[in-house]
């Protein structure tokens, strides 16, 4: 294990927190610490949390801070090797066979290899950040394969041999926790559970992310979203919904809708489930942000 206390000029969780803030991502202490440790220890960062708390955004911001290109592998049920690792460029191989006629041609050279996210990262471990998104959606065979990949950082291609990363690449995994991840995978990662941010931080996030939202509006929306999250909803609003709600209501207000009404008309960006809307319906007025701005 190689420990690198300073990575890309970042030598402490505090420095990383500041750098992330510079990339428009406001991280709390826990996230900054976990991310810093994952970088310093060269281990993958596993982010879990409810949908919409900014897991993917965190990984992207980390890429921006480290000036690395984010290579994203979106997981889904039934994801297979061809989508995750590599594929041969068959049309090109076919053409090469036809063109070569009697000459010798090597069909399994680098020219014919189409790199998919995992191979792409192995080939450029210093310039990329691998984001394995929504790992909980893949099936457990893929999870077991990832386990192997994340410990050795190598891929064997029968026709070409083994490709190994010179240095362990930076890897972030996200999970919505629709199912539990395998214990062995969690153990291999630095773990952080992203919670809904506290009201002050969330208001700051709204101000940083949304354009032209007044401070009072942001605070009111955050307070209201906090109340909504306490309700037993099928799909509680995430941070993204908070930002959009503030933005949408501000837009409607600018076009002449008075305040509480602007929030009510924009409720569709905060609550995106008919059952939730019906459930909240009768008490909506009490939960809406009050007079703002």
């Amino acid at each position: 294990m190689t420990v690198r206390p300073v990575i890309g000029g970042i030598g402490s969780p505090g420095a990383l927190q500041d750098a992330l803030a510079g990339a428009q991502y406001l991280a709390d202490d826990g996230l900054a610490t976990a991310a810093y440790l994952s970088l310093a220890l060269g281990k993958p960062l596993l982010l879990e949390g409810a949908p919409g708390v900014g897991k993917t955004e965190a990984a992207k911001a980390l890429g921006a801070v480290l000036s690395r290109r984010v290579v994203r592998l979106q997981c889904y049920e039934g994801i297979d090797a061809a989508a995750a690792l590599y594929e041969w460029n068959f049309p090109r191989q076919m053409l090469a066979i036809r063109q070569a006629r009697d000459a010798h041609v090597n069909l399994y050279g680098d020219d014919f290899l189409l790199a998919r996210p995992l191979l792409e990262v192995l080939r450029a471990p210093d310039d990329t950040l691998l984001l394995i998104d929504e790992i909980d959606r893949s099936d457990h065979e893929f999870e077991a394969f990832l386990l192997e990949f994340l410990s050795d950082f190598q891929i064997s291609i029968p026709e070409l041999g083994t490709i190994r990363a010179a240095r362990p690449p930076v890897v972030a995994l996200t999970s919505n926790r629709t199912r539990d991840l395998h214990e062995a995978l969690r153990r291999r990662c630095v773990y952080h559970w992203i919670d809904y941010p506290d009201p002050a931080l969330e208001a700051a996030i709204v101000m940083a992310r949304a354009s032209g939202v007044a401070e009072a509006t942001a605070a009111a929306v955050v307070a209201s979203v906090g109340l909504l999250r306490a309700e037993p909803l099928a799909k509680p609003p995430g941070v993204a919904e908070t930002i959009e709600w503030a933005e949408a209501a501000t837009l409607l207000n600018a076009q002449g809708a008075p305040w509480p009404n602007a929030f009510r008309r924009a409720i569709g960006v905060a609550l995106k489930d008919q059952d939730d809307l019906v459930y909240i319906g009768p008490r909506l007025d009490a939960l809406l942000p009050g007079e703002a701005a």
């Binding site: 420990v3 440790l37 214990e183």
Partner: protein, 364 residues
């Protein structure tokens, strides 16, 4: 190699966590020590952050973790966790390998076992039940749910051209392709996990469920069967003999809590606490046959069902009571777990169970 003195409390903390049921690997301990060093540490807060991140503590165990952390580093008194050894714990039971029926535990118990075995194996089976079980045996292979495998295989009727083989064939024939090889996804049968409530309130129904369980173990490639009552019993291996009477007699000998009380929640908790068992639920079609009349703590049952639902592919609850037209889940526990269930369906009698199981593969 001796450890530096300063790291001893850190190593000790890893050991403490391990003793309290957190799975901590030596690798994680090494990383934890390195992580604490990296962070300064400027204070006890840094040690906690490093432990949370590097021991991968999930949010629902954070409370237990914090208690241990305070006890270890800040000298707070350690209150035993609620699931301590109070003798009242639901334990997991499993026959060792080839289960042999032992009758050496006193006259009384042996008599009880014998009657239970008798009741299960010799009761006249209704003709309709046999017909339903036969139907399941015929259709199981085709109708049980299957999952797609990660790999593909060559197949004449595949949905995708097997270009890799095509290129190889073409290379042998100067670029001419005579037939297009195809390939398709391999499929495997999903594991079926059957959890049967054998408490007194299910007395009339558990026989049917166990007879079905025997056929399930016979017909399915991958199946696991457990009984829930005042304790948890794995009966999969005892159901392995092809003869139903023999298999059920073996199972009955193993189930010490037949027609006893109901503590489904705690039995499910016990199931999830054994890592090997909990692994059976992963990606499986889980079917619970129970009336959901919980005598124990409903919170335990709600929590267990939620965790079971997350680990499984589908989670179905078959209740004998659900057959009635005016059925609505009345008990607090059953109403609370509804959102976590994929289906709540009638489960009274072999016929209803077979009907449901044969439909498993067709939905979702």
């Amino acid at each position: 190699m001796t450890l530096p003195r300063a790291t001893q409390p850190l190593v000790g903390f890893a050991g403490l966590l391990r003793r309290h049921g957190f799975a901590i690997s030596p690798d994680q301990t090494i990383d934890f020590i390195a992580g604490v060093g990296l962070l300064g540490p400027r204070g006890i807060h840094d040690v906690r952050s490093a432990a949370l991140a590097l021991f991968s503590i999930p949010p629902e165990r954070r409370e237990a973790f914090d208690a241990l952390f305070r006890a270890h580093f800040m000298g707070a008194a350690l209150t035993p966790p609620a699931t301590g050894d109070d003798g009242d714990e639901v334990a997991a039971h499993e026959g060792a390998g080839e289960t042999t029926v032992e009758f050496d535990e006193g006259e009384d118990e042996a008599g009880e076992m014998a009657t239970a075995a008798e009741r299960l194996s010799r009761r006249d089976l209704a003709l309709a039940d046999d017909e339903a079980i036969g139907r399941f045996a015929r259709l199981a292979k085709a109708r049980l749910p299957r999952r797609r495998s990660y790999r593909r295989r060559a197949s004449r009727k595949g949905d995708q051209p097997d270009i890799r083989r095509a290129i190889r064939a073409a290379a042998r024939r100067d670029g001419e392709l005579t037939t297009l090889p195809r390939r398709r996804r391999k499929t495997r049968q999903r594991r079926i996990l059957l959890l049967i409530d054998v408490s007194a309130s299910m007395r009339a129904e558990s026989d049917a469920a166990l007879r079905f369980a025997h056929q399930l173990v016979q017909s399915a490639e991958r199946a696991e069967v457990f009984t829930l009552g005042t304790r948890l019993t794995r009966i999969t291996s005892s159901l392995a003999p092809a003869g139903r009477a023999e298999a059920l007699a073996r199972a009955a000998a193993l189930i010490a809590d037949l027609d006893g009380g109901t503590r489904i929640g705690e039995a499910l908790q016990a199931f999830l606490a054994v890592p090997r068992y909990a692994g059976f639920a992963r990606g499986a079609a889980v079917v619970v046959i129970s009336d959901g009349l919980e005598r124990g703590d409903p919170a335990a049952m709600i929590d267990a069902v939620r965790r079971l639902s997350r680990a499984s592919w589908t989670l179905d609850w078959l209740s004998p009571l659900a057959g009635a037209a005016d059925f609505a889940p009345k008990t607090e526990a059953l109403a609370a777990i509804l959102p976590d269930l994929d289906r709540l369906a009638p489960g009274g009698g072999v016929n209803a169970i077979v009907d449901h199981m044969l439909e498993l593969g067709a939905y979702r």
